[in-house]
Symmetry: C2
Subunit: 420 residues, 2 copies
């Protein structure tokens, strides 16, 4: 994409009300726009990142054998009364209608998915099964802060599984745990499994997935040596204790929750009397698991975990572009034209070969300004074409993560990019 | 996909409350599930169709040069007060919050997109520009009927354009009209441009795009010979009149509106004081156009326009699968095994070559039941592997639109499919 085609612009100054690093950088770079507290528009650069994160999650859910569906955000009140959550979920938006009915605006979809799957699943032969969606959710948060990490409207991947036997649910739960860790690794962040309470979503235990960052809203107790980790809300240890698993030292830290998984047992199948015929001919109640990944929140967590004082640093897998190509001007109009034309050739040849290139082809914008924009936007690889580089038939290559700049012959650029 | 992996099942009987053909067929075939009046879940088969329609629209919007973004459904009341639509739009859901604020649940996004674009667009040099989103919308309809064609929650593609000069807006408006007609053609339906009133979205005129069907909620006056067409709400002619353009006969018919485009003039830029610096140095007000396609509604319209008494008939471009492969059982277990194994080989070879195949590999299900399911689901091409066809090293090929069945040698199947 040509930079000048973007309708967004970067901003030199931080938004006055940015309460977190992710909000400040995402807004300054024009990835998102805050429409009100906890509610964002996703602009072209931000949407590209969001779609890449969605697709990584989608691939991993499909690999689990889960089937993608889409359930409504506007949900019948009756379903929420049936689980008791119409009154117990304090962040539930309740929407009045001119039909005199009231609707729930879904913070999750257990109330929809349970009767939905129940309609089709009648026998143990239909189980286990699992379905998921990637869709927008709503929570009437009293305080929405932390940028895109705690929204009133946010995108979530929610997966639901249905089983006849506890061992089967347990095995799926473990598979989901592994899948989630793979999702985070693929998105370029290091997430840890943390023991947590069930909350209003479960009657049993749960696990959360946290990215360690000072911006995290949760306090965690983690072993310094092994994978033991507990949310302070359910912690059985305290800072400085020896780890019960390995004897290592327990430390207190902060994390942002980017996923959670619940063994819901019969909580939802009881609410909807969801029985199936078992192999022995009896009718038995179904067991369910619920598994969430905060998609928009994960984008925020990636920024919190990967930035410096000049801007964001996107992992390649979720970067809005692979390459940020900059062509610099010159006082000599003839030279400037040569530079633009060499850059255009490179842009077109890379694009034709599937490399996603953002080409800053703006004229009358200083080198300093272009470099600052590139650092803020945080595309992993920067290429500069200028009078100086062209004298060497080269472009200047720099990784966003490093300081080193080096000249690469134009004919070698593509190979260099493919190697990285 | 293997049929038995689908968690949905077809139903022999129509849902008792299906008020339209699209609702009946989509629900019976397990494409969607009605959660309440006007609110549907999209199940695996339905979601595949929806994604294909979305992608056709996305490609055409990108070809227009429009940039994709995502704006929130939950919108600040202040923005709606500023345009006066907080009080004038009777289908606006107003969502109370425990923060004591009220939010709008967007039926469209003029109130968000105008200040959003205004933030970045300061000069005539930044114009024209256009942005779009494909996202869910909400309307508090008093009566939601017509299946997925009039929803309280529905998916819409909304495009917004911004200009400094009327000629420029006019030219873009014409380009959008052509693009819309191409979208409908690519989706396999014939839509007509119809003159309509501005309604609450515009202060000027508008055009609608209608698919002619007895299920349509709008009454239209159309010329039998040329493209002249008016919504009865603004009609200057009546049934039987001669057409003012060609002298042909005006007929009365029904249509379902699958798109609309508005020249909004300064309606929204006035509300938000959206000015830019013009080329002559003065400040001038921006002109806007708003253009919508009802995505979920378009899926319903395709079903209304393309079905028979046995089920749906999907155009190839939006069909959930290209091929519905059926393997039939046999009383002879050895033969049945041969048939399954030949079908599996065909399934795997077609899938590996990018053909989207739904393979009904269920055992213990009669041929009649499998054929009925195939007709209901409406995949354009049916292939049957059976004892009889294998004796000829063949499969039986039938188009969903026709009656003719013919044997095709197994090694020729792929070529036949590519030709179709």
């Amino acid at each position: 994409m040509r930079y000048s085609q973007l309708f967004t612009k970067t901003s030199k100054s931080a938004p006055h009300d940015a309460e977190s690093i992710n909000a400040r950088l995402l807004e300054q770079a024009g990835f998102v726009r805050q429409e009100m507290a906890g509610v964002y528009s996703w602009l072209p650069l931000g949407l590209r990142v969001l779609r890449k994160v969605e697709n990584i999650i989608r691939e991993e859910m499909n690999a689990l054998g889960a089937q993608e569906i889409l359930m409504p955000a506007l949900q019948p009140k009756e379903n929420w009364l049936q689980t008791g959550r119409w009154d117990s979920v304090d962040v539930l938006f309740k929407v009045p209608s001119q039909t005199k009915k009231e609707y729930a605006l879904g913070p999750s979809a257990e109330e929809i998915v349970t009767p939905l799957v129940q309609q089709f699943v009648k026998s143990y032969k239909d189980l286990p099964t699992s379905v998921y969606q990637i869709h927008w959710k709503y929570r009437d948060e009293l305080r929405a802060k932390s940028g895109v990490m705690r929204g009133r409207e946010f995108e979530m991947k929610d997966l639901y599984s249905f089983h006849t036997a506890q061992e089967d649910l347990d095995a799926f739960y473990v598979k989901v745990t592994e899948t989630y860790l793979r999702v985070y690794t693929r998105c370029g962040v290091d997430a840890k499994v943390v023991q947590a309470s069930g909350g209003v979503f479960s009657e049993k235990f749960s696990h959360e997935f946290h990215v360690e960052t000072p911006a995290g809203e949760d306090r965690l107790l983690m072993c310094s040596s092994c994978t033991f980790a507990q949310n302070i809300e359910v912690a059985t240890v305290k800072e400085g204790d020896p780890c019960s698993q390995c004897g290592g030292k327990i430390r207190l830290t902060k994390g942002v929750e980017v996923g959670n998984i619940y063994d819901c047992g019969k909580k939802y199948s009881d609410a909807f009397n969801f029985d199936v015929s078992f192999e022995d001919g009896t009718q038995g109640r179904v067991l369910t698991g619920c598994y969430g990944i905060g998609v928009t929140r994960l984008v925020g967590a990636i920024v919190e975990a990967s930035h410096d004082d000049r801007g964001m640093i996107w992992p390649k897998s979720v970067a809005p572009f692979h390459v940020h190509l900059i062509s610099l001007g010159s006082k000599d109009a003839e030279v400037a034209k040569c530079v633009q034309s060499a850059a255009q050739e490179l842009y077109e040849s890379l694009s034709a070969n599937g490399v996603e290139v953002l080409w800053d082809e703006r004229e009358g914008v200083s080198a300093g300004e272009k470099f600052a924009d590139a650092d803020l936007i945080g595309v992993p690889l920067r290429l500069v074409v200028s009078e100086k580089t062209l004298k060497e038939d080269s472009v200047e290559l720099k990784m966003r993560t490093g300081q080193e700049m080096r000249l690469v012959k134009i004919q070698d650029v593509e190979r260099e990019i493919n190697n990285f």
